[in-house]
Symmetry: C2
Subunit: 313 residues, 2 copies
């Protein structure tokens, strides 16, 4: 079973696994206020593009629980204030902005006082979370045929349950293959400089009982040369309409190495589409041109080249 | 000026820079006994293929200073005993074995008692060191034309002054280019898992006043794609007669990435030739096939393909 990275607490707070403490300790925190959620995003207690969006939406709800009795204008003013605070917690995260904009649209469109608007926001945040869970599952189902019994996979960074509301993106096909009784082995790039692979991906795979081995990022080429890698699956922070995608630094090197060794290279992701230029300016990420991608594993199925504008909406 | 990694102390001990303490502290240690030198090799206080060989030869001398008054047989018995101890400190190091065998041959061939043999061993260890210094310099001179003013280089692990008795192998052309007044910039792979690049190469370049930037190993491909790397220079632990060479894990990935991006990829090394199979079994190393090598920068000049048996002796 994969770990559950986010949930509502019984009292309506946002319950998260503090990802800074992993893998040494599993600490669950109940974030009671919007400020606490913004702080958790800022300090990487929660990370991963989809999870950040869900956390922000839920934080908007948790942070306005006390104001349910307020009149409409006062309630909406607080919602907008909190949304601004949450959006600033990680300004480069497209999903965060997307989720907050969706929440703000719903708030504005819902008639009535604080109580009515809050109820609607609560339902919307839950919907955002559940849509993400369902999307992870569909990505997993689309990618499942690519992960046969005995498959040896390589992944980079963390695009797993700890990055989403569900079973992850890149790891989703792996979880489903394991659940279907197939033997799979996963090589995990430790993913310098922040070590998301060694700290998070390895932890959640071990937690789920899936055999995995952490490797130095530089070792991937040597493993491929020794034919120890059947396929590579990574996630994406942003996918441009032409199929170029931004992801954690090191993804591009992996793509070139996979092409050179004839190893299929898959990018698993859901709804995100955006121009990739902005992310390319962030040294924590690199851009992998579409020509290196064997296929995208999406919630709508596996898409092979040619990638055309809007193919992955 | 490059750092001096090894020297005789005034009293005849082996003076080393303790590389475990870098870059936080520069600690020089005088190793008074053969056991202390073996321990320093075992615990990576000294590392780098050439430097280990020099240290072992000097350790054999320092460790038999007290026995100079002993009769021939007793002295030789101690020499063999120490050589065994030193050889076992890092059994996979070809240079270590080579240096010790050379010392043992000299000991056996020199007539006379302990004093005479010790004098000869002292001269031989000094010769091994000085030959290495001269070789580093010749490698630097051979590689100097490949490092024009304004060159941006990338290197991996530490094949610098801290790995040799002189100015290094991969870094030798860089030191000479800098000394000739050329502006050079060096990207340094941090080199996981042991971080020799971040800890040692960056330290010795900063010490010499050469601009350098440490990068995550996974970032090399992205830098090459952005045309920020003019050439790659790495060292080698062992070079097979056909030009395949073993070096720190991650070297092979760099070679593939360099080929893919049309970036020249040079291996700088001296006398070592050995079958590379053994090193390939050590997960700290990988083997880079000769077909990825633009040229070898050796003490005899720059050698381009085809690499034939014995070309780099």
């Amino acid at each position: 079973m994969s770990v559950q990275a986010i949930a509502w607490s019984a009292s309506g707070a946002v319950r998260i696994v503090d990802q800074r403490a992993l893998p040494e300790a599993r600490i669950e925190r109940d974030l009671e206020s919007g400020e606490a959620v913004a702080d958790a995003i800022r300090t990487l207690q929660v990370r991963g593009a989809p999870l950040i969006g869900i956390a922000a939406a839920m934080g908007l709800v948790a942070g306005t629980r006390e104001l349910r009795g307020a009149p409409r204008e006062a309630f909406l003013a607080r919602v907008h204030q909190l949304a601004e605070l949450l959006g600033a917690a990680r300004p480069t995260a497209v999903n965060l902005r997307w989720a907050l904009d969706r929440m703000l649209r719903v708030a504005t469109a819902t008639p009535g006082g604080g109580a009515a608007v809050w109820e609607r926001l609560q339902a919307e945040a839950t919907a955002i979370w559940e849509e993400d869970r369902a999307m992870c599952r569909r990505i997993g189902e689309a990618g499942l045929p690519l992960v046969p019994d005995g498959a040896k996979l390589l992944t980079h960074c963390n695009a797993g349950a700890l990055a989403t509301g569900g079973i992850g993106t890149a790891l989703a096909p792996i979880y489903l293959a394991h659940g279907a009784g197939r033997h799979v082995e996963v090589f995990v790039d430790e993913t310098r400089p922040v070590l998301q692979g060694a700290r998070l991906t390895a932890w959640e795979l071990v937690h789920a009982g899936i055999p995995c081995t952490v490797i130095a990022d530089g070792a991937a080429g040597s493993l491929m040369r020794q034919a120890k890698v059947d396929l590579v699956i990574v996630g994406a922070d942003r996918i441009a309409a032409n199929g170029d995608f931004a992801n954690k630094i090191g993804t591009y090197s992996l793509a070139v190495l996979a092409l050179h060794h004839g190893v299929p290279f898959y990018c698993a992701a859901g709804r995100l589409i955006a121009p990739a230029e902005a992310a390319a300016l962030n040294p924590a990420f690199d851009v992998t041109p579409a020509r290196y991608v064997t296929a995208f594993i999406t919630d709508r199925g596996v898409e092979h080249p040619p990638f055309r504008d809007g193919a992955r909406r």
